[in-house]
Assembly symmetry: C3
Homo-oligomer: 142 residues x 3
């Protein structure tokens, strides 16, 4: 279930203080017509909303962290969902004691400072459609 | 102790629900003759086995997590061990409270959904041999 | 605030047992004249110093972990600060129970074993200067 993709180009830079992290990443994808790619970032957030997928109930539970945290690592991929570029992003955040919190990135996570590298690929269309086994929108490729 | 390597190509896709995560990655490496590379992934697992290397005793201790977890971040490299492609993989997993668990990925970690990007390099042979200082199979390069 | 950069080459290898992790990475950047890039690594450390940025006081607090830990994931970027190559690095470390600790990597983190891949980019000059909003040295690009 793997497909060969080729490297097209890279974007490197920082997001703006006060932006919604996930919305900013999705906006970049739309604006630059990035239909396939990979995102990594480090930085800090003012607050965050992470998700955990309940595999039995097949719903996301959200975890609200209403305090400043380091973005120790953010990793995401970019593909198509409902014919639009869609960033699927996971993040690990840490607090003043070094304790980490992780999960699926939700809107409501606000940038303090964020340095990102986006790698744009060219390849077959990776389209997300509902996968009945998991209840998740997964790539519908053979 | 760094060597220049060049980018060859990329594979992007998802692993199958119910697969053993580490065995699936090693199988991909063997099948596609990937002798040097880098792996990243996000997703979720049904259960996991992680390892911690006891630096004094020079043995891995394993940590069993028998419940569903997000793969917040998986990072690995691919090189040669005993003349076969070998994936060395670390993973960070998170639970319903956002708490994270990390370590060296062991067999027994079962895929719920997993989206991976494998970057294939060309370069000198990176062969793992026993390093007597650490007790680990490390690259034997000058 | 994103800039297009191009892939130049890659270095792959391991750091030396007993080295200071952050100083070793900065030394590699200086030695190989790497002015723009990305770092990833996995491995283990003998002890570590991580930082958390207090967004209100605008100072880093340090967290000392004086025991052996896995490097579950290290991510960094390379740019220029005070006209010298500068590695900005975040790390996630795990202990014998799988518990993770994360933050901004500080000197005082000592390598047990560390396998790294450094991706060198070519692009505009990414120079860090003091950002008055955050108190951090951020890229001064439009």
């Amino acid at each position: 279930m793997l497909h060969e993709v080729t490297s097209e180009h890279y974007f490197m830079g920082r997001l703006q203080h006060g932006e919604d992290l996930l919305e900013a990443l999705n906006h970049i994808c739309s604006q630059h017509h990035i239909e396939l790619g990979k995102i990594t970032a480090i930085g800090a957030v003012q607050k965050a909303v992470l998700g955990y997928y309940d595999q039995r109930q097949q719903v996301y539970q959200t975890i609200r962290l209403d305090w400043p945290l380091e973005i120790v690592q953010l990793t995401g991929n970019i593909s198509m969902k409902d014919d639009k570029p869609f960033a699927h992003v996971h993040a690990i955040l840490s607090d003043a004691s070094g304790r980490t919190h992780g999960g699926h990135l939700f809107p409501g996570t606000i940038v303090f400072a964020c340095e990102t590298i986006i790698h744009v690929f060219r390849g077959p269309v990776f389209q997300r459609v509902l996968d009945t086994t998991t209840g998740l929108p997964l790539w519908n490729m053979p």
